[in-house]
C-alpha cells in the first residue's frame, strides 16, 4: 500500500502492523521431499504449528504470507516455486527447511537440483536438518516472528531489499 511505503508510521501503528503480521502467518506449504513429512508433523496434533498463529490453511498463494520450502528443489520445480512466490501478496516471508532447500544437501553435485532455494527467491530463515525435526521448524517460525517484530513496515513494503535486522541471539531455547 502506497501510504505505508511513504509515510513514517508512528510507533504504536507500526507495532500493530508488525504484531498482526507476526501472529497471522498463513503458511503456503511447499513440501517437496521428506522435509514435507516433517512439516506435516509440525502441523499435526503433537506439535501444532497453529499455536503460533501459523495457519496452514491457504491453498492459493494469493492468501499466503509465509512460504515454507521443504525439500529438494529440482531445477524443474524451481520455476513453480518462483511463480508461487511471485503470486504471493507483498509482505511475504520464506522459510527454507532442510539441507536440500538450504544448499542442495546430499544432491550438491546433481545436475538436476537447484543448490538452494535462495538462488531463486529470498529466504528469511534457514532451518538446518536433514530433515529438521518438527520442533526445528517451530524454532524457525519463532525466529521469523522475532525478525518480524523488529521490522520497519514502510521498508518492508518496498520488498526484500532491506538489510537483515540485527537481532540478538536468543540462545538455545530452554538451554541444555
Amino acid at each position: 500500500m502506497a501510504v505505508i511505503e511513504k509515510v513514517k508510521l508512528p510507533g504504536p501503528a507500526s507495532w500493530l502492523l508488525n504484531w498482526s503480521r507476526k501472529y497471522s502467518l498463513w503458511m503456503m506449504q511447499f513440501g517437496l521431499a521428506c522435509c514435507g513429512i516433517e512439516m506435516g508433523a509440525a502441523i499435526a496434533s503433537k506439535f501444532d504449528i497453529i499455536r503460533f498463529g501459523v495457519i496452514p490453511f491457504p491453498a492459493s498463494p494469493r492468501q499466503a504470507d509465509l512460504l515454507v520450502v521443504a525439500g529438494t528443489v529440482t531445477d524443474k520445480m524451481a520455476a513453480p516455486i518462483k511463480r508461487v512466490y511471485d503470486q504471493m501478496p507483498e509482505p511475504k516471508y520464506v522459510i527454507s527447511m532442510g539441507s536440500c532447500a538450504n544448499c542442495g544437501g546430499p544432491y550438491w553435485d546433481s545436475y538436476a537440483v537447484t543448490k538452494g532455494v535462495d538462488q531463486i527467491i529470498p529466504v528469511d530463515v534457514y532451518v538446518p536438518g536433514c530433515p529438521p525435526r518438527p520442533e526445528a521448524l517451530l524454532q524457525g517460525v519463532i525466529r521469523l516472528q522475532q525478525k518480524i517484530s523488529g521490522e520497519n513496515p514502510s521498508e518492508k513494503w518496498l520488498g526484500h531489499t532491506t538489510p537483515i535486522p540485527v537481532i540478538p541471539e536468543p540462545g538455545l531455547a530452554g538451554g541444555v
Partner: protein
C-alpha cells in the same frame, strides 16, 4: 449415506450376500451419529500437544541434532572431511615440530588444527564423520535449535562446534552384566564430565600419535595439502554460490575417484584391527560391543596411519615388520601384525582383501584367560585393573532356612508333588535361603537381572 446405497452394485451380489449386507447395515444415519460420537469423545480427551518453546520433548539419546567437536582429540587426519558425502567439513591445519621425547630421539612433527568447520546448511546428518573419526573428536549432540537468518551463520566454526560439546550426552551405560575385556566384574565407568566418553586410554592417544613421528608426517603431508579444499581459507565468502564449492573441493583433491574405493574399504580394515586387539595383550578397552570407533585409542591410533596409507596410495601400503619395530611403540605394531591371520608383510592388504573374513569374526570372543592373568600382574600404563574380588549379589540370609524347608515341603506336598520331588525342592529352597538368594523364580530373575 443414502447416496451410497443407490450406488451399491446390487446385481452382482448373491441373495445371501445381499441379506448379509442388509442385516449388517445399521439404521439410517446411525453411522453418521457414530462418527459424531467419536469426534465428540475426543473433545474431552487430553490433548497431545508438546508446547514446544515452553516444554521440550525428551529426545532420544541418539538424536542427530548437531555434531560437536572435541577439539583436543582432533589430529587433522581428515578422515571425516574425506568421508563426508556432502563435503561439508572444512579443515585447515599446519605442522609444528616438537622437541624429541627423550634424549637423542628425533624431533616430532604434529598437525595443529587451525580451522574446523561444518556447513550445516549442507550437512545431511548421516553421521559418517562421527563414525569414521578414529580419535573420537566428533560427537552427536541432541541440540537442534540453530535456525539462522543468514545462511553463512550455518557454517559453524570450531569454536561453535566446541561449544556444542557441552550438550553431548555421556555414552550410555553398559548393559548390566556386560563385561570389560580382562576385568569381568568391573563396573561401567562413567567418565568425568558429561563430555568425556568412556575412554580410559584417551589421554594417551595424542602421545601415541606423537610416538610415530615420521610415518605420521609422511601420511599427513599429502593429506594436509590435498584433502583440504583449495579455498578452505575463505569458504565463508564463497558461501552464496555454495553449490560449486564442494565441486571445487573435489577437483582440488588429488584423486577423489581413486580415493573413494579405498575409503570404502577402510572400515573393514579398522574392524580387523579391532578384533585383533582384544585377543592380544592390548589394553582392555571399554567394551568390545561398542561401535568400532570406541575401541582403545592407542590401538586405533597405530592402525590408522596404515589405513590412511592404503587409502592415499601415497606410499606402499604395507609397513614392513622392520619398519614397525623401528617405531617407538613396537609392541603395539607387533600386536597388530600378529593379530592378522597371516603375519605377512602385507597384513594391511590382506585385511583389505578379506573384509568378509574380518567381519565374520565375532567381537564377543572373550579375552584369553592367560592374557588376562598376565595383564593383571603387569598392567599397562593406561590400564586400571580393579583388585577386588567378584562378589555375589546378595549375602544377607533373609529367611530362616529351616522354616523355608518346612514350608516348601508342605507346600509341595499339598500341591500334589511326589514326596521325593517335594523333598528335593525343599532342599534347594533351604540352600537358597542359607545363601541369601531369593527363592521365588519370578522374583529371582527380577532381582538378578
Amino acid at each position: 449415506m443414502a447416496v451410497d446405497e443407490h450406488r451399491a452394485p446390487r446385481t452382482t451380489e448373491s441373495d445371501d450376500a445381499r441379506r448379509l449386507v442388509k442385516a449388517r447395515r445399521p439404521g439410517f444415519g446411525i453411522g453418521l451419529l457414530k462418527g459424531m460420537a467419536v469426534t465428540l469423545k475426543h473433545l474431552f480427551k487430553h490433548n497431545t500437544v508438546i508446547q514446544y518453546p515452553d516444554e521440550k520433548q525428551d529426545l532420544s539419546s541418539r538424536t542427530r541434532g548437531v555434531i560437536a567437536l572435541k577439539e583436543e582429540n582432533c589430529t587433522v587426519c581428515m578422515l571425516c572431511a574425506r568421508e563426508c558425502p556432502d563435503w561439508c567439513i572444512y579443515i585447515d591445519s599446519h605442522k609444528e615440530t616438537l622437541a624429541p621425547k627423550r634424549e637423542g630421539g628425533r624431533p616430532r612433527k604434529r598437525n595443529i588444527l587451525d580451522r574446523f568447520a561444518i556447513d550445516y546448511a549442507l550437512c545431511m546428518y548421516c553421521g559418517i564423520c562421527v563414525e569414521v573419526c578414529p580419535y573420537d573428536a566428533l560427537f552427536w549432540s541432541r541440540e537442534f535449535e540453530y535456525a539462522e537468518y543468514d545462511i553463512r551463520e550455518l557454517t559453524h566454526e570450531k569454536e561453535k562446534l566446541s561449544d556444542w560439546m557441552a550438550s553431548v550426552l555421556p555414552p550410555p551405560a553398559l548393559e548390566e552384566g556386560a563385561e570389560y575385556p580382562g576385568s569381568p566384574t568391573r563396573a561401567p565407568e562413567v567418565a568425568d564430565g558429561a563430555a568425556a566418553p568412556v575412554k580410559p586410554v584417551q589421554a594417551e592417544a595424542s602421545d601415541a600419535a606423537a610416538g610415530t613421528p615420521e610415518r605420521r608426517g609422511a601420511q599427513a603431508a599429502p593429506l594436509g595439502t590435498g584433502g583440504r579444499p583449495a579455498d578452505a581459507g575463505a569458504p565463508k565468502e564463497a558461501k552464496p554460490d555454495v553449490g560449486p564449492v564442494p565441486g571445487r573441493q573435489a577437483e582440488a583433491a588429488p584423486a577423489p575417484e581413486g580415493a573413494e574405493p579405498a575409503a570404502a574399504e577402510a572400515p573393514p580394515v579398522q574392524e580387523e584391527e579391532q578384533q585383533a586387539a582384544p585377543s592380544q595383550e592390548q589394553a582392555p578397552g571399554p567394551e568390545p560391543t561398542a561401535e568400532d570407533h570406541a575401541g582403545p585409542g592407542g590401538r586405533t591410533e597405530t592402525a590408522s596411519p596404515e589405513v590412511l596409507g592404503i587409502q592415499m596410495g601415497a606410499e606402499p601400503a604395507s609397513p614392513s615388520p622392520r619398519e614397525s619395530t623401528e617405531t617407538p611403540s613396537p609392541e603395539v605394531l607387533g600386536i597388530q601384525m600378529g593379530g592378522g591371520p597371516a603375519p605377512s608383510p602385507g597384513a594391511g592388504e590382506d585385511a583389505v582383501g578379506a573384509p568378509e573374513e574380518a567381519e565374520t569374526r565375532t567381537p564377543q570372543e572373550g579375552p584369553d584367560p592367560e592374557e588376562v592373568a598376565r595383564l593383571q600382574e603387569t598392567p599397562g600404563p593406561n590400564v586400571e585393573v580393579p583388585n577386588e574380588e567378584p562378589k555375589p549379589t546378595a549375602l544377607d540370609p533373609t529367611e530362616d532356612p529351616k522354616e523355608v524347608y518346612e514350608a516348601v515341603l508342605s507346600d509341595q506336598l499339598a500341591k500334589g508333588s511326589s514326596p521325593e520331588v517335594a523333598e528335593a525342592r525343599a532342599k534347594v529352597a533351604r540352600v537358597k535361603a542359607e545363601r541369601g538368594i531369593a527363592r521365588n523364580p519370578g522374583v529371582a530373575t527380577k532381582e538378578d537381572s
